[in-house]
Symmetry: C2
Subunit: 206 residues, 2 copies
Amino acid sequence: MRSFIVIGQTATASADFSLDDLPGSSGRLDVLLRCVRAALLYSHGLRADVRVYLVLRGGEEAPRVVRIDGATARFIRPDERSLALLVKKTLAAANDRAADEFVEIRPGVSLARGDLERVLLDLSGAALYLLDEHAPDLRSSPFGGRHDPPGAAYFLGDHHGLDPADRSRLATLGARAVSVGPRSLHSDDVVAILSNELDRWEASAP
Amino acid sequence: MRSFIVIGQTATASADFSLDDLPGSSGRLDVLLRCVRAALLYSHGLRADVRVYLVLRGGEEAPRVVRIDGATARFIRPDERSLALLVKKTLAAANDRAADEFVEIRPGVSLARGDLERVLLDLSGAALYLLDEHAPDLRSSPFGGRHDPPGAAYFLGDHHGLDPADRSRLATLGARAVSVGPRSLHSDDVVAILSNELDRWEASAP
């Protein structure tokens, strides 16, 4: 199981954003939605061994976490508007719920109140990594040996990057920082490149 | 200069698609738009050394080619709807033009009538590659030595892959087929992974 956690510093936890102006009305939820596509979808398929967590820190309902589980999710489409509609319906359906646990709202799509700590509880024991453009390159770091069982979790920031407090919290838990190369890239490109590296390792594993 | 050419077998060359239903109304132009983002944008920046060609084979106005030049383009936003609007306006503005040459419609965004041959003329002498999931991995192929001056051009298919006739035409021109790893991926992920590989080479070049 691979888990990708994208922390949206401003991405809205409320359903009151406009599908016609995602960047302007959702606190840049669009950045996170593109990560969902990159993490879960490949050509004509859904990755059953991947989970994505979106940590939503914007708006009145914040903080909340949306979790999408590739093993049970259905009808995950690649285009941004479809993904936005899925998240919008998830956030709207649960407006009257105050669950601290993840509650499944649609097949494979769950919602919980909470923030980073809510995600960490759910990850229970996974090896932790955080993506940081200034960290050692994942190809040259001792990354390979640890990534597999019992599955690892990869934390990414949004267009603002990871918050210092989050970095610090993850560091106390032993998270290792890695980068994907010489450029600072969009979060979804980082997910695509990281997924490719993991695919290669799995394909070459004995 | 890196050039990415995405061939849309059904992507519309007409402006009459709906921004509210891109996948359903545009012949999957959304697939190509996501490649534009992956090719041209990095964190808070536009790649000045990259050009993207979208070969549009769907609809009554087909075939047409949209070319976006990172060196002169302005206001390229990452979200799919903004990119769709840019292409829609480009296609609409030029409805009365029948240019066989590229005509700049907006800063850095040009349009021409034509198909693959129109692109090949514009590439004039670039080394050609085509992305193919069954081809040798770019990390193990003799890919590295050829990629730089005078710039290379990378051909990708859409969700249907590359057409046999296009493969055959590119092969007669000496194009080399490469893959990006063990999985069949979305076209935009292929662009992200390929761009990362090229970034690494450029960063390590003497």
